[in-house]
Amino acid sequence: MRNYNKKILVVGFLITSVLMACKKDFPVDEDGLLVTTRAECYVSNFELLGADFVTVRTKAATIDTTAQTVKVEVQFGTDLKNLYPQFTLVTDAKLDPKIIGKVDFSDLANPKTYTVVSGNRQVKKPYQVLITVQPR
């Protein structure tokens, strides 16, 4: 009788181990973000905040997903050295380099480039941020 119980225990343990080993693994990238099947790769919205965290745009940014540019006009007198860009991306995509604080956009001749990486991490599209300053 005791022997029989032992056998049940061992079999139960084995079945559980097999079930756990069959659990599907979700892949994550180096940032710990889920890698999905989505291949879409674009910027859907762009915002630019000043040092006071108030928008400096004069109108909505123009995003050209074919030319891969974000054109934005900022108010006269904007402090271009201390700006906080905000990108809205398609589902599951991520941005490279990451925005971790204020960004210096003062070198208008050499626009900054941000790369959008798709959800499956296979498609990469660089977007240029082209800033113009509103005339007085």
């Binding site: 040092a51 006071d52 006269f76 201390n82």
Partner: protein, 332 residues
């Protein structure tokens, strides 16, 4: 054997029921009995950094049973003697049904002798709550303050209550300076914490840190604080007085309505630490399109002062282009 077990079970059940009943017994409320002695208590009423020239407000309450005598004096001793404006109110307050504080005089106005402020009672009073306003003197800047409150009754009893220590800020503060592009009062001095017109500014050229102006263009220029040394495109139509040429760093800020500057409902206080940690190394030397309830962090060209200029209100009429500003300043 079985009957013994049943007997035991019944006993346990009975005991449990008794405990339950005893546990549920309602305790009658008893009126607390007052201590038969002179007692006191004190609280600090004012919030935020303690700034030189401003008041720190306390309330000191004292009471004894009427049968034991009456109050004869109340006094406060500060660790550093307050400015002459320091006083202990000679009114005890109660709040009426409309929420208004009604003052009842209980003695002569307070007398300051060194660091001690005293009120001598001349009414038969057995309980009073007096307000104490300590005007922070220049000597206390950057120091720690503590206070000892004392009350004495007619039967010779005395009680004391200690509060503190409280830090006194190194900051200076000035409220409600009017800057106007219409009257020419547009030259702001951080070192003097004052506003001058062009004639006076010419005589104090080394002390002028900012120029206030209001312009309407197609862009949002509006109210602006600009360094005299800024790009001339930010000073349209301005002819600076001779020698006014400082480059002051500025950073626009929004939603920072310091309670002491704005005196609004916001519980935000700018303290010494904010100025110590402020980094304006890459800030521009102009701030345009400033709105009411906005502000700017400032660092003077000589690196001697950091400040926060808060815009209390603005007027945009063509005949009156002005703003009211309040300043907190920290000497580095």
């Amino acid at each position: 054997m079985q009957s013994r077990s049943i007997y035991f079970n019944y006993s346990v059940l009975l005991l449990a029921t008794l405990i339950l009943i005893a546990g549920c017994k309602k305790e009658d409320y008893k009126l607390p009995t007052a201590k038969d002695e002179l007692q006191n208590d004190a609280i600090k009423r004012s919030l935020g950094p303690n700034i030189v020239g401003q008041n720190i407000e306390f309330v000191y309450a004292m009471a004894l049973p009427p049968g034991r005598g009456k109050l004869i004096s109340a006094e406060v001793e500060a660790s550093i003697a307050g400015a002459p404006a320091t006083f202990l109110q000679n009114n005890s307050f109660n709040t009426n049904s409309s929420g208004v504080d009604i003052g009842v005089p209980i003695g002569q106005p307070s007398v300051n002798k060194g660091a001690i402020t005293t009120v001598t009672f001349n009414k038969d009073t057995s309980a009073a709550a007096l307000r104490y306003f300590y005007s922070v003197p220049e000597d206390a800047r950057g120091q720690k303050l503590s206070f000892t409150f004392r009350a004495q009754s007619s039967n010779g009893e005395t009680v004391t209550y200690k509060l503190g220590p409280y830090n006194v800020s190194k900051m200076d503060m000035v409220q409600n300076l009017t800057v106007s592009d219409s009257t020419g009062m547009m030259y702001v001095s951080i070192s003097d914490m004052a506003v001058y017109n062009a004639t006076t500014a010419a005589t104090k050229a080394d002390k002028i840190d900012l120029v206030f102006l209001y312009r309407t263009f197609t862009s949002a220029f509006n109210h602006a604080l600009v360094s005299p040394a800024a790009d001339p495109q930010y000073l349209p139509g301005i002819t600076l007085p001779a020698g006014v040429n400082k480059s002051t760093k500025l950073r626009k800020t929004f939603n920072l309505q310091d309670q002491q500057l704005a005196r609004l409902q916001f519980g935000i206080f700018i303290d010494d630490l904010d100025f110590q940690e402020l980094n304006l190394s890459d800030a521009p030397n102009f701030a345009i399109n400033l709105k009411a309830e906005a502000g700017t962090w400032v660092e003077t060209a000589d690196g001697k002062y950091r400040a926060y200029i808060y815009i209390n209100s603005v007027v945009n009429r063509t005949t009156n282009k002005s703003a009211v500003i309040s300043i907190k300043r920290y000497a580095l």
